[in-house]
Symmetry: C2
Subunit: 438 residues, 2 copies
Amino acid sequence: MRERPRFMALATAEITTSNDFGPAVGLSCRECGTRYPLGPSFACIECFGPLEVAYTWSGPDFDGAAPVTREQIAAGPANIWRYRALLPVPADVAAKPNLAPGWTKLVKADNLARELGLRSLHVKDDSGNPTHSFKDRVVAIALEAARTFGFHTLSCSSTGNLAGAVTAAAARAGLDACVFIPADLEEPKIVMASVYGGRLVGIEGTYDEVNRFCSELIGDPLGDRWGFVNVNLRPYYAEGSKTLAYEIAEQLGWRIPDQIVIPVASGSQLTKIDKGFKELIKLGLVEDKPYKIFAAQAEGCSPVSAAFKAGREVVQPVKPRTIAKSLAIGNPADGPYVLDIARRTAGAVEDVTDAEIVDAVRLLARTEGIFAETAGGVTVGVLKKLTEKGLLDPEAETVVLNTGDGLKTLDAVASGARPTAVIRPSLDAFRTAVVENS
Amino acid sequence: MRERPRFMALATAEITTSNDFGPAVGLSCRECGTRYPLGPSFACIECFGPLEVAYTWSGPDFDGAAPVTREQIAAGPANIWRYRALLPVPADVAAKPNLAPGWTKLVKADNLARELGLRSLHVKDDSGNPTHSFKDRVVAIALEAARTFGFHTLSCSSTGNLAGAVTAAAARAGLDACVFIPADLEEPKIVMASVYGGRLVGIEGTYDEVNRFCSELIGDPLGDRWGFVNVNLRPYYAEGSKTLAYEIAEQLGWRIPDQIVIPVASGSQLTKIDKGFKELIKLGLVEDKPYKIFAAQAEGCSPVSAAFKAGREVVQPVKPRTIAKSLAIGNPADGPYVLDIARRTAGAVEDVTDAEIVDAVRLLARTEGIFAETAGGVTVGVLKKLTEKGLLDPEAETVVLNTGDGLKTLDAVASGARPTAVIRPSLDAFRTAVVENS
């Protein structure tokens, strides 16, 4: 049994409305399976395990009839709402003001594949989302839940990308926003999270301290009727990451890749991509086949990688120290599940240094024209390292995730990304400074 | 007759290949109509007017049979290649490595419409492109022409966004890149243009001086077999902007909006959006109807707006001084055409101050969750000003363009986009610093 969170919103249906969560039928404890009604709750009363959304197809009694066909999905909009029949949202979700994230490019990365010695590689590039990170996916689902529960303020603890995704989504939806970040974040993320007009509060501390503060705030009257997307709305929020799995499979021609490299911050995204693949198989939307999930961390915040390499089941918290700030969660809530999944699928968990992260950002940029955030440097760096170590099969169909945008972590590459030369506008100056120097 | 450009590549078919430019049948002088074969040339031998791509449907003898149906377009990919039958590219263009830009969101902007008193407003948000500006569209067409002409290096003069679009596209296509920018550009644009691995050369001077330098380089052996996307490939490059018109019409349900606000740098984009609308009408893909085109400039670089307001036909060059650096072209090549189009369609040309630009960036962000570059502040600011002046019809269907991304012009809004407070992680601190202050 887990330690009980200090300021836990218990899983009673405190707020009962005429909820419409589409195919979702309840919440279910990931640890003990106890079922709860759909509400703004996130931890089990019985065992304090995390709650997940349960669907009509979740149980063993499922009759095998998929709620949607490939053709219906393909006829849907070019965003995550094409999968609304598989998400905890009402059928008319696309008609309400939201940022309509998703359906980002799956880029066939032949140049990078050649450089790494891989036969088939795709980059799932989530920098194409409205606020340029995968967080727009999870926020869109949480926003819909917040509306249903009648919350007036959208909130979160964030390592940066989430703050911008929340304030942008709240602006468009007409909700208030109040978001919390470590005070030492990258400048672009601070400006972006502020510009949409919500309140942005810097906390003197790590992300883990920001997160603890938010848990306290939920239990306080100050946070009354606030939807913290990654705390009391977490079961809904987390489901948004399943859309990465759905899109990758659909974009590959309704096929699950053989192996995939996914970044790990809290670990939620990785567990939900695994859940998404399993759902597609269960619903008959793709063929059943084995796949390997590889998890990527920055060495300066690699508690899951350390546990994996040591053969441990327990993830020991660390104090983060890495340029990959969007992954800098020292006490990852879903770390144990990441270990389970990596081991069950015969994948691995690996980490790379800050220098390897920068090299990988530049490698991806110069081979594929994709400018990734440091988190993308982590996944591409781990892809490279796993290939060199022989842990990835170079003949297998491989996907690597880029979850954010290089413009948000400019400082990481700025020192090595300068003009070749600065010259007067003359051919002589060009000849001397550029041509004869190259 | 125009002044002959000093270093003009004459419009002879210097390079003859088995060119495949799809429906394109030649180049045609915009001024005198003289026809040329498809080649890397951009100015007319007879009158020094600019060359444009001519199509099977360009002439008066066109038989009215559209080369493509709405249904065929809708079945195409979610990028500009869905319109390949209307562009100077081969039918297999999508299969070659490129950034696959376009099909960006047309956002229904009800919040902003309400704030401005408009009935129906959409934002065409081109920040969703691969390098987060509309330039990916024009570069994609120029890249294909560069490949066809056998050029080994992709180049440009740029106010910033184009440099990144060119180096990214070249990286993915496996071409060399060497791009030229004013040395005083915004940091994010410098880093982005460098990270893809091409050569980036800063020029001590304005964009107009950079542009003149590139024209010299084309005439020099140093620039041999270089494709300058916006000089010797300009006829192809410019056609990429037509896709904005196609997408807007298709996304509105195959309908041209009543009025549209477009930013003006060189003026090329605006003239090509007009061309795109006219083509859709001629080809029977939309109903014929009048539309008004409004052009937007920053006051600190408003030569076209000044000419419009003075009732002049001639655009007098200015020395730019504005935070909207991506629009800072003091001697806009297509300025006279912009004047023609604004007058012919009963539109207007208007400008806004730097302060109004910043206000408009923030207005768009807080109403719609879209973080625009300063150029988007120019169009939204002009939209607001034209509405207040009564020059825009508040009942008419209106579209405003955002052509770039706020992350590239952070400095413009950074001073006003700070955290509400920075506090210790405690409820007391939050109560004191945030709740009681708001």
